[in-house]
Symmetry: C2
């Protein structure tokens, strides 16, 4: 352990910045505006800023012992206690669960989580009159509003409920009134049927996955870990961090694993530039480090570049400075979904431990409630630190008031959630579950085997409830073989159906098209929308062409590399190129490109694709290497319940991937491929190339 | 001097990488393919790679004294000498000036520049038979081909000519035949009417600006500095680095100043991802450092992160390690254009020394020959490390064979060079000079005064030869005043005409529109091209709307900030939003957005704009500040030869900018603005706000 020299930011930088900011404020008048604006507006941001100041002042008092910080926090809390009782429901109240200081209750909980911690920190410095004023008029008043006066939020098993219970429970500890913390832990009726413990039981899967996905997991994590720390400090006998086999620690690790190049996987409603440096995860990492002492967490802290303004944050910084950091072990993993782990799974396939290496996210999760997207069995692909096959994320400009008040835009439901906005199969141009959240919530995919070996990382999933009469399955694998200089991805999408349907498989590629086997020409003088509903109305039709001899091959360039997807599809398939942005009068959408394989078939369909990162474009030294795909053909063989995908290369080599429907690990399978028998045991098998077997490379 | 601790890459890293690469090659057979492919193809890249290996082997021999490197270089050169005499003109010969090893003569010069240096380095280790073979069959053969057999290139005052003269001259020194170097310095007839010295006289302006712009300047620089170093070593009496008042040193500094965030200004034909780490500038910086010892060059070397594999490169690295580096003094400057400095100028306006701060490039240069664009008085704006108002650069995928063989695409002439592809005024929907290069080359803008003070950085230029009967002028200024938290830009575009014309002023913004005063709706279901020629045919018409009370205000978001451009235009102007990509069947263009002010006027037009960087969008900590513009109005006053622009803010403050047509520094001017006289002396004056004068901020 130890020995790395650390030159990065330190806790002292974080603390100095907080001191600088507080000191600048201390000479200024305290401004507590009357609530007026929605998210992103002046009063909204001002109250948030004040909470951060109060919180930081409280922490600085704890960290330095200087009373001026305690006085500053007390003064600001007093100013709020002066006016809070007079505030009714916020004038810009959000549809449901409005707040008083903020347009929504959720922000009010966030505020109280921060301020209650500051109050706990400085309470001992206050006069009885100050205590009484702040506790009665601000803290109890607000805690009552968030609990007994907002039961629909407080008792809800949902991240808003977690924020509310954390705010109320932490206030209880801060003012020494256990009634609040009991209600927070066990629900308003203290039965345990709701409240924080029930949320711990139900909101995370046994692997620590949060059913709304990483964007909300990251957000939900903060009240979980902060309240848990308060429980641990005030009622250590509850052993809250060991609750449910250490579920909070698992949740913190799970959210870390769900990032690529520092940004969370943008599945479901997600703001795409949300990074692991988010404040919530500063606390998550520092508290997890206190629990585990895991040196790999220090490399995450180093990447965050900032520290929680807490003693735990200081401890993380000290450990970094003493050279204890180790690289975080990014790895392929299955995160089961659902409280019992039986509601599908998020499968993360990483070609290596390199956080910027090739990675695939297979979204075989449950719907994820109201923020879920209709993208069953969808995939995302990353490479070289970038999105290669991307997810739109949420249609929302968070906190940008001019953009629909910072709310989710109408295009979020109408486009971003729809199936066609994802790299997922669309049947009959309709979104999964007809875009009905309730139906979606009831039906999760069935995960198949997840296997990780040196040369094959592979997963499958299937679902037959997305469309009536159509069952879908997808197998996706990272394959390493010497005939390809870099790992490639094999992607097998299948639909079984008893009747004729149309099938669209979109690929939302990131980059600039440079090459294709298709005889495709973008329409030079006209653009029309690709459809009228299910999200298609937001896609400009750019070009349509027939595939060539059953094969579509498209190469694009991104940054310094090339990516080719070669897809085997039914002979009469079309390839449709599109661009996002039709029916968008208010310039709300990003104009990103994509293309889709489009087939009509009587009894189901198979799309077998190879994604191939290749080559190098170097504009600095001016050379280009391997800008052409190595894939010459993709062939699919099926024999009952066994599939075989053969990938042939331009120099006459080939690899094969066998996939069995029966996932039993000891089951033997055999299939005849061009007259030769291919046999294996277990659900998957990679048949290597001659190059690999001869050790050519 | 000294004292900075340096942890960056070192020369030893560069050398170790070269050793690693060479050693890996030394056990492999030498492959010298028969010339076949165009740029980006296999044989093209292989010959380039071989030249780099030969060059590096020669340098490593010099640096380490290990004979194995000399032997390796000699072996490869011998292999080339075996086959070169048998090669005729390249089968994929480019339109003009074909090569034999490469499709164009230019690449052949590049190859010989490298290989001749290696030969010079290892010559003493060779047997007479080896020398004879390599000199006769390779070096002299190639040098003859590039000189007497290609007089149209060799004697041309052009960067291709510089590459050819450098290759031939350096070969002359390497083999000890001064006839070659004399011809290289003075032209084939040794009269001095052509050749390297004449190129030094004519290709750079007195300020070291290269008339084709920084992209080609960077490229042209390499043969200039390498040949000059060879001249200096072999004929020190020529004092080549003092030639023309040290023009080469000026040229190196000029090219460094022409970058933003590490990337060269993409004016004229330019690949936009070309950075200061380009190999040419590694040599440029190391040679300039040897000449000057300027510690500011070391910070450029540090940003480059790599070193020339030469003793000079090692010296730069050693100086960095000893802590001598100082930040490079980026500053506002005028770089005159033309051999005599009378062909316009490139004006660089920087709000601060921060290389990532607000900057404006005013392109008031000459045409720049065949790679020039028709964008007289065009501007580019940068802020926060990003392009804010951008230039398309060249339509070309350099070295990507699948994209038109890596050549300039047809869309380069048809779109990228056209005026509408730039932030420049278009009259009657026609490009400047009717897109005729010859006419363009004959007519440069007339620069006005260029002034830099603490709160005002400003330049003007005018030209009356772009359109018959229309004279154009533009004044652009960075203004600092306390009523704006950040510097803003004021941009005054004027046309004088005796007849009715239409005027389009495009702004190619980078980002996502979030707010506007316009009642604008993008057409939801249709796109048609904006025109049929002059580049308009490549623009989809996205929306068209009337301006509101003579004012157009559009705010967009880019990364973490907001940018608003508020433009005063004639009352009946339209604003047309567009997106690049119409008439692009082969997906050759990037689909970037823009909008243009569009007016028709009888006797000229005025567009007065304010560009305002503002606010902060922070998705990590989730807040947004100042997302709305502070500009409430822009008003223009004119009195004969004097203009006044008044910018009013939302809180009732205002600033004013006075601009006189007469650029004499001591001339007094007065103009009546809403009944009040505004007077000043000299071409420009900034009238500050009340906030500024009261020291409010």
């Amino acid at each position: 352990m130890g020995g790395n020299v650390y030159f990065g930011p330190t806790f002292e930088d974080t603390q100095a910045a907080a001191v600088h900011k507080i000191e600048a404020q201390m000479s200024l008048p305290v401004i507590v505006p009357v609530p007026e604006d929605a998210g992103g507006g002046y009063t909204h941001e001002k109250h948030k800023e004040n909470a951060r100041l109060i919180y930081n002042a409280g922490q600085l008092y704890t960290l330095t012992g200087k009373e001026k910080y305690a006085d500053f926090a007390a003064g600001m809390m007093g100013a709020y206690a002066d006016v809070y009782p007079g505030w009714g429901i916020h004038p810009a109240r959000k549809e449901q669960s409005p707040g008083r200081m903020f347009w929504q209750n959720l922000n009010e909980s966030w505020w109280l989580v921060h301020v209650s911690q500051a109050y706990g920190a400085v309470r001992d410095t206050l006069s009885d009159a100050q205590k009484d004023h702040i506790e009665q008029n601000l803290l109890r008043n607000m805690a009552n509003f968030l609990s007994v006066e907002s039961p629909e939020t407080f008792d809800r098993i949902h991240n808003h409920g977690t924020w509310a219970t954390a705010a109320v429970g932490m206030t209880g500890y801060a003012i020494g009134d256990r009634d609040y913390s009991e209600k927070a832990l066990l629900g308003l009726d203290k039965s345990g049927e709701s409240g924080f413990l029930k949320q711990l039981d139900e909101l995370f899967s046994p692997d620590g996955y949060y059913h709304e996905g990483p964007y909300y997991q990251r957000y939900a994590l903060m009240p979980f870990v902060l309240f848990a720390r308060a429980v641990s400090q005030n009622e250590p006998e509850r052993a809250i961090f060991r609750y449910r086999d250490g579920i909070l620690e698992k949740a913190i690790y799970a959210v870390i694993h769900q990032n690529y190049a520092g940004l969370f996987f943008p599945i479901n409603d997600a703001i795409k530039d949300k990074s692991i440096a988010t404040t919530e995860l500063l606390h998550g990492v520092s508290i997890a480090y206190e629990l585990t002492g895991d040196p790999e967490l220090l490399s995450i802290a180093e990447a965050q570049g900032k520290f929680a303004l807490t003693p735990e944050g200081r401890a993380v910084s000290d450990a970094l400075k003493s050279g204890k950091s180790k690289p975080f072990s990014y790895r392929s993993m299955r995160l089961t979904d659902g409280a019992q782990g039986d509601q599908g799974a998020l499968d993360i396939l990483r070609a290596s431990r390199d956080p910027d290496g090739l990675a695939v996210v297979a979204k075989n999760t449950s719907q994820g409630l109201g923020h879920g997207h209709f993208d069953k069995l969808g995939i995302l692909i990353y490479d070289a630190g970038r999105e290669v096959l991307r997810d739109y994320g949420a249609a929302r400009f968070l906190n940008v008031e001019a953009k629909y008040g910072g709310h989710y835009l109408p295009e979020n439901n109408a486009y971003a959630k729809q199936t066609v906005a994802h790299n997922a199969l669309v049947v009959d141009s309709r979104s999964h579950f007809n875009a009905d959240v309730k139906t979606g919530n009831k039906n999760a995919p069935e995960p198949g085997a997840f296997e990780v070996s040196d040369d094959l990382i592979i997963t499958s999933a299937s679902i037959d409830t997305v469309y009536a009469g159509v069952s879908l399955s997808r197998t996706v694998a990272i394959v390493k073989d010497a005939t390809f200089p870099e790992p490639i991805i094999i992607d097998l999408v299948k639909a079984h159906a008893g009747a004729a349907h149309s099938y669209d498989l979109p690929f939302h590629y990131n980059g600039h098209p440079v090459n294709t086997n298709l005889d495709v020409q973008a329409d030079p003088v006209s653009r029309i929308p690709l459809g009228t509903d299910n999200g298609y109305q937001y896609l400009w039709k750019v070009a349509e062409t027939d595939i060539v001899e059953g094969l579509s091959q498209v190469t694009w360039m991104l940054d310094r590399k090339f990516y080719t997807v070669t897809t085997l599809a039914p002979d009469d398939s079309k390839v449709v190129f599109f661009q996002i942005g039709a029916n968008d009068p208010n310039f709300n959408l990003r104009n990103e490109p994509g293309f889709m394989l489009r087939a009509t078939a009587d009894r189901g369909v198979v799309f077998a694709s190879v994604f191939e990162p290749h080559g190098e474009y170097n504009p600095v030294v001016e050379y280009t290497l391997n800008s052409y795909s190595r894939v010459s053909n993709v062939t699919h063989f099926n024999d009952g319940n066994v599939d075989f995908i053969r990938v042939a290369t331009v120099d006459g080599d080939e690899i094969g991937l066998g996939v069995a429907e029966d996932m039993a690990p000891d089951m033997a399978h055999v299939i005849t491929v061009d007259g030769r028998e291919k046999s294996w045991i277990g659900p998957y098998h990679l048949f290597h190339s001659k190059s690999y077997r001869s050790g050519d490379r």
